[in-house]
Symmetry: C2
């Protein structure tokens, strides 16, 4: 078992991996095409997707990194049901507001239910019946659960699916300054999360939309194929985020202020004059992006109608100050592909690749060597997809492995056969080395160590 | 991080753990009462539950063991959406059959959807569009997902909730013998799974119910408080299951035949005469149980209407032979409590306990020692709930720790203070030892090694 609780090695011959050689006609977005071709997903019906084993692994790896970074800042994981009663939404006033995007359901006793599109009401209600005093604050609670938004025209695969997987967190504080400090710590945690996922996600001032509230930022992944045009200061791309202690609120304030002081705007909020004034020409970037996270501070917007009061240190009863914080996990699978692919297929960042190594055996004569190497890789904890098929041509195997985008390919037989060594290929750079069998593990390990230089310094 | 991807240690003072001193009036089942009192769950609305952080940890631990045992027999994990189109269910003929337990939904375009109560149709459809030849068989696919059954009277907490978490697996084989072999390997895997979860689950011949098919067994956990009365041969309780190689079909057949040859029946299927004839008086047990797993072999019941055909080795096209296999993960949390508690609270089996150690500090004077011990425990990977509160009486802390049922309690201060050592208490046996601080980690480790004697020999 790998640390991801996923199988370390699988054999291609018995794996459930239906790749496609043809590009599906109805998929316009590159991530949608690659996910279908690579056997990561299959559509179940409009806006609903089956995650096949390879896609499921990526989903779980993203989930794990998101979870670890939530835990790091002291958030506690819980889990709320997907189906909610309409009552709380009537109380908050959002039942009618949400419109047709909300999937409304009537049960056998004619009670009004809905498939949760978000959970502000549900978590506020749990909080209200549980926490009564400032002594038990601050609290940060999160869950990772399926949500549903009944999009008029679901499209772009899992990028804009109706049922989607999301992490949503909620902060509870005694007063506004405490609430803003929680917002800041989540803000910084998001920067770390996206860095670990191997993508550039830029925080941008945003509209508060249906969640509402006083303050809000979107986190946008840069991808040429993204839906929205964005304008930003290139210094944002070079920023690295120090891992501050959990309660170093002052440092967090400084970091957020630094991150939000640089120019970054979607086309809606873009002002050319301001851009030119604030950013030197050489640092001006115009590109495209995909929203993958969103943070809100909304004070007592939900605590008031849902009567979530606490006793403050002063003795008086006050409404708890809240924020909410989302990351679209299933959408990230597509967004990462949008930001990292080439004309041969996906190029997974190492932290989320479904397997680290793709092992290809080309000759039946080299069967024993490749079996030995496969065992070695698994025993050393390197997640490996082993293409052990002999009824498939070498060219087809190479093309498929490039399509799947695993960081490292190891090729046994073929060109390497004469030299008695294994061909090592890095998918991203296409760099190749010939390495003797007994050197393969140390070679991969050395490369991995070079990669894992911490990004939080 | 522990291997479970859950935080290794948490402080009681900042944890979201709303325990109750009073027994909730409307909860009749002991597991329901203990889960509410222990702060594991809160009701969201009828038959819908919020999993609070402590309960969530147990859910995840059960899920992990179930996953590992599915992976061990070569099953591949995927994930299907919770919402399904009604079309496939019309094709299989079950759309009308399922009655009011199925939650039917209409989307904004007036298309008929439903919240999946099970996934035979969905997985058969994925299979049908993917696998075309016997060369790619056998296949075992599973997923772990939320399901919904609109019970008339949801009750007993998560034991009979409307939204529930379940592992369901599906096997695909060329012919009937292959199908039965897949059934057998899943059957044995279930025995192992339940043993690892620390419960006795007895396989019993069962009705095939709404899933249908030719062959079916229920797995029933013995619990005095269970819904059904069961009769069995006590030899079943002493059986241990060897970990056979994945493809040792002959051995699996023998094991299943051995496990099913002994008498075990629910009251519906119980025949006193047969019981007396087959089982010596000294081995006759009458007790109660809770169904936690169910396996079915149903041949072409779904592959025929959904047209899931493959090319057999003979060249002819045949319908694929299928089975399905469920384990109720959220229900297991309650079932394990039913089978393992005492009058003070829950007694978690070690494999699923939310934390291994409950650390209690009694004196402010011992604060430094307990902080040191907490750091030691976390650094050594022992999951610890640290009761670091000083505004709560010792008696309340002891009662709460017993209620929560963590396997080991460590008490700093109080009686142990004078001797300069730490009090070690095993929750289940109430056995106590006084151990010097520097000996605590080796002491726990020694105890854990003694426990971990493999049960698969």
């Amino acid at each position: 078992m790998s640390p991801y609780e996923l199988k370390t090695g699988v054999r291609r011959s018995s794996y459930f991996l239906p790749t496609l050689r043809e590009t599906p006609a109805d998929a316009t977005l590159v991530s949608h095409r690659l996910m279908l071709r690579g056997g990561l997903i299959r559509q179940a019906s409009a806006g609903l997707y089956n995650w096949l084993p390879l896609g499921f692994r990526v989903l779980k790896k993203i989930e794990r990194i998101v979870r670890q970074e939530q835990d790091r800042i002291g958030a506690h994981e819980c889990l709320m049901p997907t189906i909610q009663s309409a009552d709380l939404w009537r109380q908050s006033g959002r039942y009618e507001d949400y419109g047709k995007e909300m999937l409304r359901i009537t049960d056998r006793h004619d009670r009004a239910l809905l498939y949760g599109p978000t959970n502000e009401e549900a978590i506020t209600s749990i909080f209200a019946e549980t926490i009564k005093t400032y002594k038990e604050l601050p609290q940060l609670l999160y869950h990772i659960q399926w949500k549903f938004r009944d999009e008029v025209r679901p499209r772009f695969g899992v990028m804009r699916a109706r049922e989607f997987y999301m992490k949503d967190a909620y902060s509870f504080d005694c007063d506004k300054q405490g609430g803003i400090d929680s917002y800041n710590s989540m803000f910084i945690s998001y920067l770390r999360t996206f860095q670990r996922l191997g993508v550039q996600a830029i925080p941008m001032r945003a509209d508060t939309g249906p969640i509402g509230g006083e303050s809000s930022h979107e986190f946008v992944i840069i991808a040429e194929t993204g839906e929205s045009t964005i304008y930003l200061d290139s210094s944002l791309l070079d920023m690295r985020w120090a891992l501050a202690a959990q309660d170093d609120r002052k440092k967090y304030r400084e970091m957020v202020s630094r991150a939000t002081s640089l120019y970054a705007a979607t086309s809606d909020e873009h002002t050319p004059l301001q851009f030119d004034k604030q950013v030197p020409r050489s640092r001006q970037i115009k590109t495209h992006g995909i929203e993958v996270g969103h943070v809100f501070f909304f004070g007592d917007k939900y605590s008031k109608p849902l009567d979530a009061k606490i006793k403050a240190a002063s003795g008086e009863e006050v409404f708890v100050q809240m924020g909410s914080y989302g990351i679209g996990i299933s959408r990230l699978v597509a967004a990462i592909i949008e930001s990292s692919h080439d004309d041969r297929g996906i190029v997974w960042p190492k932290s989320v690749a479904p397997f680290k190594v793709g092992l290809i055996c080309l000759d039946t004569g080299k069967y024993k060597v490749s079996e030995e190497l496969y065992a070695l890789l698994c025993n050393n904890g390197f997640e490996t997809l082993y293409d052990d098929r002999f009824d498939v041509r070498a060219g087809v195997k190479f093309a498929e492995m490039d399509l799947l985008g695993l960081p490292i390919q190891l090729i046994v037989g073929g060109k390497s056969a004469t030299s008695g060594s294994i061909e090592f290929k890095e998918r991203k750079s296409d760099e190749r080395h010939f390495v003797p069998l007994e050197q393969v593990i140390p070679f991969i390990r050395k490369q991995s160590t070079a990669d894992s230089v911490t990004i939080f310094d």
